[in-house]
């Protein structure tokens, strides 16, 4: 256990020292990142960035420090280890960024009319912790994370931003350092405070924010790569999940477990601009 922690720490230090956090480049000033990447010609950082998908740029978070905090938090929820990549390498922070930039982040299909009461009754409601897969008929098809309870005027984008900023504040209050600069154990402690509702947040329960963080991290690891996470289907490979397929009529009665090389939605839909008509 001690060894593992040491490994994580040294990996973190490496990331910090080399300027790599969350698949991007950290610089000391506004232009630092850009300059660094131009000056560091033939090192690993640069080649790593070239391998990043072109979709890996921020569409929602305007401040890089907010995005880096999010990234570090997701990596604690789904860390890199011997089994395979963690949230950052899988592109989870970019997945969440894209989700928040779209209709889900702006609560386009949620009921957002006043009044939004903030009282004890609402507090109790926000702290109900039914798991999504234990919520009634056929819910075993859902992920085993608690249903986020929604009784705030903020949309999900605003809620995430408020939560991330609060993580940053609590890190400074508890350790006098930014969240990104903390070691793994300290980062876990901060996240546990949100999970347990031990911090204050304005107009939303910290546990609601935490449950969203948990849920979206898992979604980013395992959803189709079309959404910006599950980079190169590495999440699916780790889990021996084959992705969308035509069907399994021939295989479904087999006793043995069958491992298939995963296919993505692009493969399944025959995506891209080419199609049978053009080639045939």
């Amino acid at each position: 256990m001690a060894e593992k922690n040491e490994e994580q720490l040294s990996r973190r230090r490496f990331l910090k020292n080399s300027g790599m956090v969350a698949g991007g480049v950290v610089g000391g000033s506004l232009l630092g990142g850009l300059l660094t990447s131009q000056l560091q010609t033939k090192d690993t950082t640069d080649s790593k960035q070239e391998n990043e998908p072109l979709q890996h740029a921020r569409m929602f978070f305007s401040r890089k420090e907010d995005f880096d905090t999010l990234a570090a938090a997701t990596e604690r929820i789904f860390p890199e280890d011997d089994l395979g990549p963690g949230a950052i390498e899988l592109g989870v922070p970019y997945f969440i960024d894209k989700q928040l930039a779209g209709s889900w982040g702006t609560n386009a299909k949620a009921y957002m009319r006043d009044p939004f009461d903030q009282n004890e009754h609402v507090y109790e409601y926000q702290h109900k912790d039914t798991r999504q897969d234990k919520a009634g008929p056929n819910t075993s098809t859902q992920a085993p994370t608690p249903t986020p309870r929604y009784q705030t005027r903020m949309n999900r984008g605003e809620l995430f931003l408020a939560g991330i900023r609060r993580i940053q504040e609590v890190s400074e209050e508890e350790y006098g350092e930014t969240f990104v600069a903390l070691d793994a154990e300290q980062q876990d402690k901060i996240l546990q405070m949100f999970e347990a509702g031990e911090v204050e947040m304005n107009a939303v329960a910290p546990v609601t924010f935490f449950n969203f963080l948990l849920q979206t991290t898992l979604e980013g690891v395992y959803s189709d790569p079309v959404y910006g996470g599950n980079k190169n289907m590495m999440g699916w490979k780790m889990k021996e999940y084959p992705g969308p397929r035509m069907g399994y009529t021939e295989e479904i009665e087999e006793e043995e477990f069958i491992v298939m090389e995963p296919k993505s939605l692009r493969d399944y839909q025959g995506g891209g601009t080419s199609n049978g008509n053009q080639t045939g």
Binding site: K109, A135, Q142, D224
Partner: protein
């Protein structure tokens, strides 16, 4: 100002299974029919290439857009209800085909006991067995009378099944043979047999072979592709309204379908329904559609709310326990479909393959198939194993005691991804004096109309029957050889999660106008030419999934509407 349209014979509100069946039957009978659907138009082509777990299972693509309208929810009469704001907390089907498009397909008939539950309970155990406040009542129709309507719906839908050894002997076989028996199902059946139970393959709305239904609609064989419940079928292989009754209705020139038509009121003169008022949600234009017969065939919530907004029928008052609209609201919430999950250290199952209703069950603890003399609840349900086909986000089930995140979670979630099986119990849900629907005093929809308010709490009946089911599931998992068995927790209280779409009652059927809103043809007692069709008619929730009974009752109602149009007056 509303534009007044030409009168038609029948106007149908809501086009899922119920409205689709009414539409098809009325169209076939030559009636001039207009069907109004609040959602968008849809057809099989909308669901080709749908295999996207995030979009459908986690973001609820096929569910109602709550920005326009939702429900509010509370446990007790003296509480302020809170709006249920997101689709994580509330899902109800929408768009053409309604809930039928995303359903899983599990098909059971309700039992003779379910339909005559009050009489049969008293007959066997005496009236004292019924707790004070449980508004237990017969449906006003028997299983024997329902048989032909079940048969008709099962043939339209092309259900694939086999005879349940404990169920009443079927007059006709299921239209198609059962789905394939997979290793998890076989393991369950063998264990259940060892314990002396009577397992069978769950009847499914997933086609075991190519099938042409009596209306000439063709359904394709199921591919076991796993993207089934929450999804429209990629192959036209799941029996839903889009591949059966809706195309049948559309073959007839006397049938017209209007989508994006949001009905706000039933027009009512104190004696008869005169038609409906609706808004085209694309243009904002209001219309009045006059009709000789009005059929409400929307979801339970909408059927109730439209009657309340239109001042039709006597609203239920929990203080006096009088009135009928909103009375006996019930639903399968967080106390049902609980059981236990078994983790198998040395077995891996191909759980990423599956179909919505692919599964096995026992009915040894359904209805009154077991003696309740010494039990602290009434009724029962099936114990099921299902192989839906797990997506990668879903398959993160880990043994209790595993942290919810971090290194150990990752390790266990990956190790157990294909190694855990859930069993659950699908028990009956009773109706109680304190569980009902009315209009919310505060929260409004797009048009300023009040939202529907749900007042609902669990009772000892719910908690005791849940505990019983969990114990039985645990016993079977032990026999299946699971290395770790985690029992589900019995919830203390209804938690305001409206998930699974099994909410019924409020406009219930029966043989007494004092305790029911509609007769056994789903014709309103107070209004001869108004039929309210759907789950809203269930006086209690039965022992199983609701869809087949909704389908059968819709065929019964269609027969009633034709009779009414011939002779007029009350049918019962």
């Amino acid at each position: 100002m509303a534009t007044k349209l030409d009168k038609v014979d029948v106007v149908v509100v809501g086009v899922g299974w119920a409205g689709g069946i009414i539409s098809a039957e009325m169209a076939k009978a030559g009636k001039k029919v207009v069907a109004l659907e609040r959602g968008r138009s849809a057809k099989t082509e909308d669901y080709i290439g749908v295999k996207d777990e995030l979009r459908y299972t986690n973001r609820f693509e096929l569910m109602q857009d709550l920005s326009h309208e939702t429900v509010t929810s509370r446990n007790n009469l003296d509480e302020t209800a809170l709006p249920v704001r997101t689709r994580d907390e509330m899902m109800a089907g929408t768009d053409l085909g309604g809930g039928s498009v995303h359903w899983a397909g599990a098909t059971y008939r309700y039992w003779p006991y379910d339909f005559e539950i009050r009489s049969k309970t008293i007959e066997r155990y005496g009236e004292d067995k019924i707790p004070e406040g449980m508004q237990l009542q017969d449906w006003g129709i028997t299983y024997e009378e329902m048989e032909k309507y079940y048969d008709k719906w099962e043939k339209t839908a092309g259900i694939s099944g086999e005879q349940d050894p404990l169920a009443p002997k079927r007059k006709n076989d299921w239209p198609n043979p059962p789905l394939k028996e997979t290793p998890p199902l076989k393991l369950f059946k063998d264990a259940a047999k060892n314990l002396g139970y009577h397992p069978f393959q769950i009847a499914a709305g997933n086609m075991s072979q190519r099938y042409e239904n009596p209306d000439g609609q063709v359904l394709n064989p199921c591919m076991y592709c796993a993207f089934c419940t929450h999804y429209g079928c990629d192959f036209g292989a799941k029996s839903d309204a889009l591949v059966t009754v809706i195309p049948t209705a559309l073959k007839h020139d006397n049938f017209e379908l209007r989508t994006h038509a949001y009905v706000r009121r039933v027009l009512y003169d104190g004696d008869k329904a005169k038609g409906v008022m609706y808004v085209d949600t694309m243009t904002g234009q209001e219309y009045e559609q006059p009709a000789d017969v009005v059929v409400l065939s929307a979801f339970t919530f909408t059927n109730n709310r439209l009657l309340m907004l239109s001042d039709i029928g006597r609203p239920y008052d929990p203080e006096t326990r009088k009135g009928v609209i909103g009375r006996n609201f019930n639903g399968q919430y967080n106390s049902v479909h609980l059981g236990a999950r078994g983790f198998f250290d040395n077995k891996k199952f191909n759980l990423y393959m599956g179909a919505g209703a692919l599964g096995a069950a026992i009915n040894d603890f359904a209805a009154d198939n077991f003696d309740h003399s010494d039990l602290d609840f009434l009724g029962g349900g099936a114990i099921e194993i299902r192989q839906y086909g797990d997506g990668a986000i879903t398959s993160n089930k880990v043994p209790d005691g595993t942290p919810r995140w971090g290194k150990e979670f990752k390790k266990n979630s990956i190790f157990y991804a294909h190694r855990s099986l859930q069993l659950w119990y699908t028990p009956i849900v009773m109706s109680w004096w304190h569980n009902y629907l009315d209009l919310d005093p505060t929260y409004k929809d797009d048009f300023g109309d009040p939202l529907l308010r749900v007042t609902y709490k669990l009772t000892d009946q719910d908690r005791n029957i849940a505990k019983f089911g969990i114990e039985k599931c645990h016993e079977i998992l032990e026999e299946m050889g699971a290395d770790i068995i985690d029992d589900d927790e019995v919830p203390k209280e209804f938690d305001h999660i409206f998930f699974g779409g099994h909410y019924t009652g409020g406009v219930v059927m029966g043989d007494d106008p004092a305790t029911s809103a509609v007769n056994s043809y789903l014709q309103m007692w107070d209004v001869d030419n108004l039929f309210v069709v759907g789950g809203s008619a269930f006086p209690q929730f039965g022992s199983h999934h609701p869809t087949p009974t909704i389908g059968a009752l819709a065929y019964r109602a269609a027969e009633g509407i034709e009779k009414y149009m011939e002779n007029g007056g009350q049918l019962v």
